[in-house]
Amino acid sequence: MLDIIKGAVSLGLLWSVMTIGVYITYRVLDIADLTVEGSIAMGAAIAAQAITNGINPYIATGISLLGGMAAGLVTGLLHTKLKIPALLSGILTMIALYSINLRILGKASLSLLRMETVYTPFERLGLDSSWAIIALGLISVIIVICFLYWFFGTEIGCAIRATGNNPNMVRAQGINTNTMIIIGLVISNGLVALSGALISQNQTFADVQMGTGSIVIGLASVIIGEVLFGKRNFFLRLVSLAMGAITYRIIIALVLKMGMHSNDLKLFTAITVAVALALPIIKAYINPPKIAIEEGE
């Protein structure tokens, strides 16, 4: 049982990075970005191919990050310059990435068995493999959270947050909302690809299919994090996202242990997310809001 929890926590930490990426588009920019399904697999593919070719795993992971950022840039340009709706822009990039990822991998799947990965240095320190993952996962999540906490406090970061909230007002304040949307998509998909690179090195293979359904896993983690761990200030909100991703993995580990077939997992996750998104409506139905009569000032 402890091993199951340990495995779930380590996997959750790696998926936290992706969850935070999804949060940036879904909550901060108010865009449902499907690019992530392609960029997570792209991150995995780039890292696996680079490592196979003898590139240092840390550098390989860095290249994955850049690849994801490029994918975000493409979606951003499709959406802002060509005026294609955000959802469709993401789908187009996602589909295009499927072919590109196959090109990168050269085949449907690439093994990293017995190769040096980002976790190897931690194992050399004497950590067993799941502690090595937890250690590196924790370091990555802390770096990402600190970076984003700083970034969204800067002038650009504030402008991006405002863009997701009220783009009309942001333009009226002299800010190019297109640029802000592009920056947000670039950072988001960079993080998602980084997460993909870490995940593939953990599972010791990269698979062109591994992105399928990842957006729903990301959303589930965001929602679990928000519901269970609140969202007082921005820093705690970022921490709660990581907690959400970990909780999601623990829940999945438990339902599998209780006998759910792993083929049914995606159905289970989709239903969970649908119910969570419908919560406000369900709540209002059970407990109708009282009509508030506004007083004059």
Binding site: E155, I156, A159, R161, A162, N166, N168, R171, A172, N176
Partner: protein
């Protein structure tokens, strides 16, 4: 300060819904002019302001703001010269962000945004002072989400944001229309105060004839996409609702059927 030259704006051109919203509109505004813009529903007032602000491009004609040819400038570039307040109190502020964050976005209008902190502690003092002048008790609510403020408070904040960096031109589009009469009066008084303190060049759309007569040094009336009256100086001071109605009739060849204006 503003020079609009023969602009046309057509919505849905070439379709059955084609609508010529502006027909050959020209306006020259001097520095310090305070124009009140009045006209019936659908006369083209909002379209004119939106064309000046760059929300829409024009189909013909030119727009020059403070010596800059703005005809082809995108909205966010023109915004560096403009202050805007909209009819809908939700439009001018980011409701999920706190009051000081909204003000900080406005204080940086016209500057490139970089990696400096979005708000400095020095600014907070300025905000507190400015807010205390509004007399709405907002100076102690810098950390309140703007979405929790009342419509009147939000319009006052939007006004402050529009003028915190002195704009070359202030555009107000029925910014008190969504407020109850008492609040509207307070926001209008605040508007007057900010305009005269900063000597702002202003174009204010109003649906209220009395307000249009009472405020500003110049009154422009629009009808069916055209400017039909432009009254200034001594003549403007002597205007009454009756004389304005009469002049509308002879300028447009129609009876004035704008009940909202008549009733108020």
């Amino acid at each position: 300060m503003l020079s609009v030259n023969g602009i046309y704006k057509v919505f849905n051109p070439g379709t059955v819904n084609q609508k010529i919203a502006l027909r050959n509109v020209s306006i020259e505004m001097e520095e310090g002019d305070f124009v009140t813009l009045i006209g019936g529903n659908g006369a083209g007032k909002s379209t004119l302001l939106n064309c000046v602000a760059g929300v829409y491009g024009v189909d013909r004609g030119t727009i020059n703001i403070a010596g800059t040819d703005a005809t082809k400038l995108p909205e966010h570039k023109r915004a560096t010269m403009l202050g805007r307040v909209f009819q809908d109190p939700m439009m001018g502020t980011a409701s999920d962000m706190i009051l000081e964050e909204n003000l900080a976005l406005a204080l940086r209008r016209g500057q490139p945004r970089g990696f400096k902190w979005g708000i400095t502690s020095k600014e907070r003092e300025t905000y507190r002072q400015m807010l205390s002048h509004l007399d709405l008790g907002l100076e102690n609510r810098l950390h309140t989400k703007v979405g929790l403020l009342s419509g009147g408070q939000r319009q006052a904040v939007t006004l402050l944001m529009a003028t915190i960096k002195k704009p070359k031109l202030l555009l107000l589009d029925e910014h008190t229309a969504a407020l109850d009469p008492k609040t509207a009066e307070r926001v209008l008084a605040l508007t007057d105060k900010l305009i005269s303190e900063n000597n702002l060049t202003t174009m204010m759309v109003t649906h209220n004839m009395r307000d249009a007569i009472k405020h500003g040094n110049r009154l422009i009336m629009m009808h069916d996409g055209r400017i039909i009256l432009d009254i200034r100086g001594e003549e403007k001071k002597k205007l009454t609702v009756e004389s304005l109605l009469k002049r509308f009739g002879s300028a447009s060849g129609e009876e004035f059927t704008y009940d909202r204006a008549l009733l108020s």
